[in-house]
Amino acid sequence: MNPLRRNSTGIAMAGALVGAVPRIAAACAMCGLPPGDTAGHAYNASVLFMLAGPYFTVLAIGAIVFAMWKRAHRRPRVDTATARTRR
């Protein structure tokens, strides 16, 4: 059995097991909250927010670095004669 088929079979079996036994699905911290569970939903929102934090950080810093790299390639070197300090 090649690795792709083996992994797919494993995931399908795990999915079927979780679907067949609801108590296993309820063990997930993010799933199966009753509608009135405000604390559970608050924790979920907080977890999702903090989960997104590192990705947003990397995206923002990466965008800044990329913009600086693009600008450095585009900007011509300042001529010393024209870049004299002006008052």
Binding site: A42, S46, P54, M68, V78
Partner: protein, 212 residues
């Protein structure tokens, strides 16, 4: 010297001997300085800090049946709206300072740096007066999760603004001596990056803590 394209190492290119010296006497310069890289790393760590603080705030805020609790005062919205505009306007003046240093306009640079520092100090003063009034009305750090999260989040941001203002005053002091110009804009660019971060995080905090 004639105007030529700056020699910059490509983003993902390996460091080869040919990049160090182009042969015509010009040294390669990195597209991002070590100082700016350090500031970006600092900003990244600060973003993670605020992410954790906001995450804890969300838990308290979304799980509370009443917010604010009935016995505690409501946060002043009108004054904080005006203060938000003050801080956002300071981001604009800081941008103008960066533009001035890139054009070697010394007088403009000094003017915009001073205006930015004054706006930052104004923001801190208004925040401080707000805090004094809130404490007088009974909202302290010990006023449950409402007071605790408010002072922790807003106080943490206030500390960052204070640090940024001190840094900005030091940069302005150096700018007064004419040290920054188009060839040496690093100091102004670094404080600008931190200032923009401090200004960008404030609307998020304002929306969450004051208006949510």
């Amino acid at each position: 010297m004639t105007a030529t394209t700056a020699k910059v190492r490509p983003l993902l290119a390996p460091r080869r001997a040919g990049y160090r010296d182009s042969g015509d006497g010009e040294r390669e310069r990195p597209f991002i300085s070590s100082g700016m890289l350090a500031v970006l790393m600092l900003i990244a760590s600060e973003m993670m800090l605020f992410s954790g603080l906001i995450g804890s705030f969300l838990i308290f805020r979304l799980s509370a049946p009443f917010w604010p609790p009935p016995a505690l005062p409501r946060l002043p919205l009108t004054v904080t709206w005006a203060n938000t505009f003050v801080l956002l306007f300071s981001a604009l003046t800081m941008y103008l300072a960066v533009r001035a240093v890139h054009r070697s306009r010394q007088r403009l640079l000094r003017r915009w740096l001073i205006v930015t520092a004054v706006l930052g100090t104004t923001f801190l003063t208004v925040q401080g007066s707000e805090w004094v009034r809130l404490v007088a009305h009974g909202l302290t750090l010990k006023s449950g999760s409402y007071g605790g999260t408010f002072y922790l989040l807003i106080g943490c941001h206030g500390l960052h603004v204070t640090a940024a203002v001190i840094w900005l005053v030091a940069v302005t002091w150096v700018a007064m001596r004419g040290r920054y110009n188009a060839h040496n804009p690093g100091g102004v660019e670094r404080i600008a990056a931190f200032w923009f971060f401090v200004c960008a995080i404030w609307p998020v905090l304002f929306q969450l803590v004051y208006r949510m």
